[in-house]
């Protein structure tokens, strides 16, 4: 009974705690300083058909919402507010009864600011954590911990960057990549020889790839890379921002691969202590070759799939395929290719390091 309890208390605590948290967000409106209302009635007051210059047809609606205030001095009062939305909903949305909505109130007007999304976010987080701990136990928790710590470091780096007004931006985020790699590998592998090899391989693979890519970028004079299409550019110039984003984006994948290769080579060495450095190197190449394709695909799909809405919009606004690609995907594609080069180059580096270090270690023992 005791063992049974010990095995299940973790998932159980997370299940109940998460559920309470999810329910809690529905009553969290008083914690927000912005006014929040809950929609209690909705009525469509106006409908119209639209057609734009590219013959796209759509419908536009206006809805009259009645809401009950959930916070502030007018808590419990009811308010009336208009919302207009379209069938496509690219920049707007329909509100339904039960939705909690941020509004801004002045003496004359009430405007809708946006949906309160904390409940759905916490629900999804709860589901992820619960499944993780239920299925993968301690390893799951460690994975979660490493992501959480990385997030904290990421925020600290951004704060630091703001304090320095983005001075030395690339150095800061290059340094951040080092900290990330060290922290993550230490959490996953512990302070072992395996970790040192993986760390060195990750850093050199990534550095080689960035160096090589910078050379290619310079030689081709960045032709066909439209930095001006980069989203969310404020105080940092697009080009360093692109490099930093690429560096961070590929880091996880290179670590993933190096960890796999080093782990396999350690296993091989334990299984067959007499194995030669050359055999180990070839085995590392073998493992790396098998995983590099799927890994590059992971990043490619992440980088490119996210451009779906904006690419679609460009196509529907009468732009050609080529123009749409240049304006939305050229950066993501370049990012995928540079990451890919890093992922591939890390294979010989990690195989070489691991094979040499493993074999000399055995020699010293004998």
């Amino acid at each position: 009974m005791g063992k049974y309890l010990r095995r299940w208390w973790g998932p159980l605590v997370i299940f109940v705690g998460g559920l309470l948290l999810v329910i809690g967000t529905r009553y969290a409106a008083p914690l927000y300083s912005q006014p929040v209302m809950q929609v209690i009635a909705s009525r469509v007051t106006q409908t119209s058909k639209t057609q734009d210059e590219f013959n796209n047809r759509d419908h536009q609606y206006t809805q009259q919402l009645t809401g009950r205030m959930l916070n502030g001095s007018r808590r419990g009062h009811s308010v009336q507010v208009k919302n207009s939305y379209t069938t496509s909903g690219a920049f707007d949305q329909k509100y339904r009864v039960g939705d909690q909505v941020f509004i801004s109130m002045t003496k004359q007007t009430i405007l809708i600011k946006g949906l309160k999304r904390d409940t759905v976010l916490v629900t999804l987080l709860w589901l992820a954590v619960f499944l993780l701990v239920l299925l993968l136990h301690r390893a799951g928790l460690m994975a979660l911990l490493s992501v959480a710590l990385n997030l904290v470091v990421f925020f600290l780096a951004i704060e630091l960057n703001m304090a320095r007004r983005s001075d030395g931006f690339l150095w800061l985020f290059g340094g951040l990549a080092l900290v990330f790699a060290l922290l993550t590998l230490w959490l996953i592998l512990g302070p072992t020889k395996q970790m040192v090899i993986t760390f060195v391989a990750t850093i050199s693979g990534t550095a080689l790839s960035l160096g090589l890519s910078a050379l290619v970028l310079a030689l081709t004079q960045h032709k066909g890379i439209y930095y001006e299409t980069m989203a969310y550019v404020t105080q940092v110039a697009p080009q360093p921002l692109f490099l930093a984003a690429t560096l961070l984006g590929s880091l996880g994948a290179v670590m993933d691969e190096s960890t796999d290769i080093v782990a396999t080579l350690f296993e091989l060495k334990t299984d067959k202590p007499s194995i030669s450095a050359h055999e180990l190197f070839q085995a590392g190449r073998q493992v790396g070759t098998t995983i590099m394709g799927p890994l590059i695909n992971v990043l490619l799909l992440i980088f490119i799939a996210e451009t779906f809405p904006i690419a679609l919009l460009l196509l529907k606004n009468g732009n050609s395929w080529g123009y749409t690609f240049s304006m939305t995907m050229s950066l993501g594609m370049a990012q995928s290719l540079i990451s890919g080069i890093g992922i591939v180059l890390a294979i010989p580096v990690v195989s070489f390091l691991a094979s040499r270090l493993l074999v000399t270690k055995a020699g010293a023992v004998e």
Binding site: F91, V216, G249, S250, I302, A305
Partner: protein, 254 residues
């Protein structure tokens, strides 16, 4: 020569240098995957149903990632079946989540990008957000399924009489080994690209409450969480498929 072309050639060269024929095949699978993704966007712009397009091309992309350049059939077939099953479960989860979260399309921070464009294009962007979520996760599902299936294949080779229970235990064990690094691949993959957005948020002093409910940020966080959930689900699913196949092949033998 354009930069993308030059970078592609460099990638092809190093892939062949390191992986030989397999490397060339992997290079091919990357571009085929990109082609599928682009085709998906074009088809949706021609008013094909985004969900159907995603489902069909998604399965094709899983096949491309898993089968091209790999030759161990036990591993690839198991990984493929498991990945397709996870894709279906994921879709059943994504559809209600994206409707509920309403993070489709664009947010205030995208306004600059949208200047001068018609937004009334008659395509439901909630469905586009569903398609985006599924497509961005496919690579991670395929990769995890391959890793688990490969580990289990090797185990079955070494211990052909392994019991179902032991197989499940090993499947979870392999899952525990890969989950840490896989999470980080996804985390960095998604958050690396968000660097600009985070600097924007810090620049304009968004409050925690605003961040938590921000449409653009929430859309990203939801993508990351869905990807994590799908990778977690891939672990037992791949093990289960492997166990089923093992059982079937043993029945045939006896």
């Amino acid at each position: 020569m354009s930069t993308i072309m030059a970078l592609s050639l460099v990638l092809l060269a190093v892939m062949i240098l390191v992986g030989g024929r397999k490397g060339a095949m992997a290079f091919l699978s990357i571009w085929l995957n990109f082609g599928c993704l682009f085709l998906a966007i074009v088809l949706v712009s021609l008013h094909f149903s985004p969900i159907m397009v995603t489902l069909i091309l998604g399965i094709l992309m899983l096949a491309l990632t898993i089968f091209v350049g790999q030759d161990d059939l036990r591993t690839t077939q198991t990984a493929f079946f498991a990945a397709v099953l996870v894709l279906l479960i994921l879709l059943a989860l994504i559809v209600p989540i994206e409707h509920w979260a309403a993070v489709q399309g664009f947010g205030m921070e995208d306004s600059d990008e949208l200047e001068g464009m018609s937004l009334l294009v008659g395509i439901n962007f909630v469905q586009i957000s569903i398609a985006t979520a599924v497509l961005s996760t496919l690579g991670a599902i395929a990769e995890a399924a391959m890793a688990i299936a490969a580990g289990l294949s090797e185990l079955i080779e070494q211990h052909p009489t392994i019991s179902r229970r032991a197989l499940f235990k090993s499947g979870l064990h392999v899952g525990q080994q890969i989950i840490g690094t896989t999470f980080n691949t996804l985390f960095f993959g998604f958050f690396g690209g968000l660097l600009g957005l985070f600097i924007w948020f810090a620049d304009l002093n968004y409050t925690w409450g605003e961040l938590l409910n921000n449409k653009v940020l929430d859309a990203e966080i939801i993508l990351v969480l869905l990807a994590l959930i799908s990778v977690i689900l891939t672990v037992p699913m791949t093990t289960w498929v492997m166990a089923q196949r093992l059982q079937i092949s043993r029945k045939k033998q006896s």
